[in-house]
Symmetry: D2
Subunit: 289 residues, 4 copies
């Protein structure tokens, strides 16, 4: 049975290589998570176990794919950032997106029982969709990350206020919505504090800031290094490294701990202290204590 | 914290709507399955349990997404076909591919222990990548399906012969390769029969033909219907159905059993007897016995 | 001066191959033709010379590119159709669009003085933009062509009525607009006839139907041939012709006259009598008289 | 004749917006210019009239489209650069490419007789194809420009040597090719000088460097300005200008002379002295003398 007469169908596949020298963000979102929340009784406004399984899955993705320099998660979404010099899968969009979605999903399902030992998963299982977006400059990338974290803050302040009104204040959903309609951040802080003695700033950072996943090296004093945003933007193509240097980098990356922290990524400080994230040059692995 | 100054980053997302009125095939492939085979001791040349978990995952995908009219799987790959009139997710490529990859992966991981009760999954977990390809005509689509099934046949005949030489014939891998180099199908059949008394045609159909997943209705006598390939190609856009008709179709689809069978999909017979696959009009649900 | 260190920039070019086995329509539109009309005093509602130079340019395009099977023009726009088996420029979108736009523009500018001998062109020169769209089936393609011709009819009936009211009826532009607001085709016909003794059906066909450009062969009696729409849709890939057949076809195409006619292309008759347009098999060259 | 039933065909047009915040280079190339050279007797290795008509057409394009910040031409090709903040035509690729190709072609054909008064154009007319490529950083863009200019140098040195050997040295084409095979730049310089008393560096700059087209303002002393490459890369999106500033910029651009010069664009000097090219902020219009 010769296969040759059918093989012409391969020519229908279209190339989908993402523009070189741009930061690739793959964002995944939970599909139908409102129903998931209801089915598995997620706590409102935040369920720590649900965030923990998201973070565990994200950590596995970052560990498996060393080309990812940072990831940021909030609620049922996660953004993974490939360095602009990344050439994984020849930068083919479908391969990058599907690999991340699949690795994330596999780990989410597999680790579920660790965080929800009493609630076995049943059909329909939790699933995620994904998409890739390219950002040409560090500024664009950081604005993307800031956008997601600002969104986290806005939503969490709203949700914290809403559920306080409902759970502690005895309002029903419609009343709570009405109470919050048109309020600014300061108003919500005031409502939380005056009515419920809740100081929003004392809420857990994982809820207020979301989760940041990255390889951890020794922090750098901002003034002591010179990897500026500008010099990173000026990188025009994958630098030809000596093979031995590439090997060294690989080993260092493999050695580095992948951590999940709850930090401000809008301000410069986070990036200045961790220049390896944008430069993609591994930092100094901290001595084990 | 106003989010508006960051929101411009949304404009970097590019549209990826697939061409209307074309058949969309999403094919997924296991990532690094050679290592998977070794790690979990898959039997050679075919491991029935491994195929069964693939088929169970594929069945879940087809059940979850009624827009899929047929799926075909072999080894660690599966192709899912959306009807050309499908408008799911506005035909956005990333959404379609990532949803299928995620749903497949979730089910594969979740159902694994059913088929491999003694071999718990461990990191790195099984994952899949995916891609979408559009085919303009029924002929192109059927040629794609034939291509995959012909590939299944060619590979399985080779692998069956190869492992017979190794396992039963006492050759090592290099010797077996050499024995088979340049042989035609007839030669391989002859080797199997003369040396090992194996009649290839008696090998299990799941190995020889791969697995076909579809909604099952009452078979149709080819001469009694008139949904020809040509009339399907002539469909130019989603037909405006009355709402009640759409509702009826939906219910019928929901009632239909999704089956996994091992059939020849190269010849016309399969398609002629199951006109609902290409027409996307649900058939008659068989009476339960 | 070694060039190699700069050559990496070639990798930024993205593939833009159009989906195989689909009809490619390249439509071009005049840029800023409202101003052109004013500057060169085009007659209202239609300027025959302006249409003639469009048609001459389109004829040159079709003559230069034998892969074009038909073109249709109205006002300052023209649509060129490549057969679905066309492999010109490997179906690269930019090459196809830019070649047509450039060839059309070159001929428009070069032939201008033939039709407007007393009005030399001056800056800014007439220019055109273009885009490609793929249609998977004959029905889609014919619906596209019908769309353009129906548009021609609707606009021309409106414009004919409008300018009759202005030029013959003494209304100013606003009054004429108001008179026509909400009128149906029948109303406009009635206005033309009752007020101005104009029978719209006697208006020149070039204005009412637009212009169709194609290679002319002997017309075929619809019942005598069997190149149905369906059989054309079923063509899955460029048929492997014998070299001698391809050569014969090429010669026949070169011999055929490229004609500009003003015909109904919405009804089947046009297509049935000229099966070579959709089949891409040259017809019989008429005997010269 | 209702047009609505055909209008669905509009949905087949695919979006082709180029990635924001990237430099867009549209390069056009003459189609079949080897034949053009022969037909119109272009002089070898360079024909000044042929370059002049190219430059005149390019100048018209840059004048018509103020969004173009620089253009570079050599032989029968020209590259036009849109600033990375450009939003013309919503950055739609087809519109940008086709508009440039059409404007260039119209001017080339229209101005031809100025430069070739004794050689009227005849069919097939000169035409050009085009394509767009995006570059994320100033370094990528400058490397692209350097690539083209280095190519110009390499080709022109070869061609100058080749035609010297043929025209002055009495070699035939094959002999000349053989003489030059494997030679380095220094060897070619030596051949030109020792055999033909030609000092390559005294060849006209238009042949050795190609042509650069840009808006001319007062040159800037590199140390006096601070528009560095890095600060330009850091621009993340179209800066919201006050309307009055935008109007002022527009007027200044309109006032600026578009010039064609033959300069080195590989070294920094060109760019440092003309910061307006990369910053897109109009410079100081020189006082008229």
């Amino acid at each position: 049975m010769a296969n040759s007469k059918f093989e012409y169908v391969r020519n229908f596949e279209q190339a989908d290589h993402l523009l070189p020298n741009t930061w690739i963000v793959v964002r995944i979102d939970g599909r139908g998570f409102t129903k998931m929340c209801a089915r598995y009784g997620f706590e409102k406004p935040n369920d720590r176990r649900a965030l923990d399984v998201m973070n565990a899955a994200a950590k596995a993705v970052v560990t498996d794919l060393p080309e990812i320099v940072i990831a940021y998660g909030v609620s049922d979404e996660y953004s993974f950032v490939f360095h602009k010099t990344c050439t994984l899968f020849e930068r083919r969009e479908s391969k990058l997106v599907s690999t991340i979605v699949s690795t994330f999903t596999a780990n989410y399902v597999h680790k579920w029982s660790t965080y929800f030992p009493d609630m076995p998963l049943a059909s329909p299982l939790p699933t995620f969709d994904g998409r890739a977006v390219c950002y040409p400059t560090v500024q664009n990338l950081r604005d993307y990350m800031s956008w997601r974290q600002a969104d986290c803050h806005i939503n969490n302040l709203y949700n914290t206020s809403f559920w306080a009104l409902v759970k502690l204040g005895g309002q029903d959903n419609k009343e709570a919505e009405k109470t919050l309609a048109g309020t600014l951040a300061a108003d919500k802080n005031e409502i939380l504090f005056s009515k419920f003695k809740i100081n929003y700033n004392n809420e857990p950072e994982i809820f207020r800031k979301g989760s940041v996943v990255f390889r951890d090296y020794e922090l750098v004093e901002p003034e002591s290094h010179n990897t500026t945003t500008e010099s990173i933007d000026a990188i025009s193509m994958p630098v030809e490294q000596s093979k031995s240097q590439a090997e060294k980098d690989k080993k260092r990356r493999a050695k580095a701990r992948v951590v999940v922290e709850f930090l401000d990524i809008i301000k410069d400080e986070f990036w200045d202290k961790r220049p390896w994230i944008l430069s993609n040059k591994p930092g100094k692995v901290p001595k084990e204590v």
